[in-house]
């Protein structure tokens, strides 16, 4: 019998290239004001951890991609990246 191993999907959602990120810009200028040098850009995004029941990796990836397209990301302005951790 296969033991029950929940699978973790890590989802990073960030603004697409070319979409102005005012929060990232504000953080960037705060870092500069604090004296952190050598920072050329900051982008702020969202990070979600989704725990899934045991399922084949292909199926998990497909499911999480559907979640991103339907609800988690607004694909007009955001892109997403999925990492599965068994």
């Amino acid at each position: 019998m296969v033991p029950f191993h929940p699978m973790l999907a890590k989802v990073h959602i960030t603004l697409k290239n070319g979409v102005l990120d005012p929060q990232g810009k504000a953080i960037h200028s705060a870092l500069n004001q604090l004296g952190f040098e050598g920072v050329s850009n900051v982008n702020l995004g969202k990070y979600l951890e989704i725990t899934l029941d045991t399922m084949p990796e292909m199926e998990a990836k497909k499911k999480v991609r559907e979640m991103c397209e339907k609800l988690l990301a607004n694909t007009v302005i955001e892109s997403y990246q999925i990492t599965l951790v068994p």
Partner: protein
């Protein structure tokens, strides 16, 4: 004319718009709970302002999947008049009934103040009571009103007359200084191509009571009534 005001958990301008429709304009007005599934018999449906579902994930992103939304989409696709104000506008873009997206204000701040709008298209049921070029003073109150659409979408919207309001100065000049939130092309309100769906960030229901000094918001409701009876 039968009006429905949709109430999501977290809506907070629902009573204001209900008051204007029912008590100021004397229209038959009913509440529609977000768990209802029918919009039968309505001539106008309003998605009001507020913070549906606490703005979790993105403003409007979760309300967009409320049980009532299938009926809202069918109603709009059938030509029903649908007005989304502030959070209601955010729900409309999330649902895909209107193009583009509403992002965090460029300033990062919640903005609550009267602004001036230039009417860009009077050929809609929401604006036919006035003329293109008219300047309206209507308050905004939002943190996510920064309208974004890609250049191609903006081009189509301009060609189709979908841009209904732009932020301007009191003289009607649309400029960077009169843009409160960073919206593309100073966009404050847009319609779908068929012009039966309007989304706007400013709150016409907050300046439509005759007891108040500012009443420019009445234009929207008067236009809808005029359009219904013509």
């Amino acid at each position: 004319m039968n009006c429905g005001v949709v109430v999501f958990p977290g809506s907070n301008c629902d009573h204001d718009v209900y008051h204007i429709l029912k008590h100021v304009f004397g229209l038959e007005t009913k509440w529609v709970w977000h768990k209802d599934r029918s919009l039968k018999g309505f001539d106008l449906v309003v998605l009001p302002g507020g913070f549906s579902y606490g703005d979790y994930l993105r403003a409007g992103a979760i309300a967009r999947f409320s049980p009532i939304m299938d009926a809202v989409i069918n109603y709009a696709e059938g030509g029903g008049r649908l007005l989304g104000i502030c959070n209601g506008f955010q729900v409309l873009v999330e649902s895909g009934l209107l193009p583009g997206a509403l992002m965090r204000n460029r300033s990062q701040k919640f903005i609550c103040k009267p602004v001036h709008l230039r009417l860009e298209n009077h050929d809609t049921p929401f604006t036919l009571g006035t003329q293109s070029g008219a300047i309206l003073k209507i308050p905004v109150a939002h943190a996510e009103g920064n309208y974004f659409a890609d250049p191609e979408t903006l081009k189509t919207m301009n060609e189709q007359g979908q841009i209904v309001f732009r932020y301007c100065n009191p003289e009607g000049t649309v400029s960077e200084e009169s843009n409160p939130n960073g919206s593309s092309e100073n966009i404050a309100g847009i319609a779908n191509t068929r012009k039966n769906v309007l989304g706007m960030m400013p709150h016409p229901e907050r300046c439509a009571d005759p007891l108040w000094r500012d009443r420019d918001g009445q234009v929207i409701f008067k236009s809808l009534i005029k359009s219904y009876y013509s």
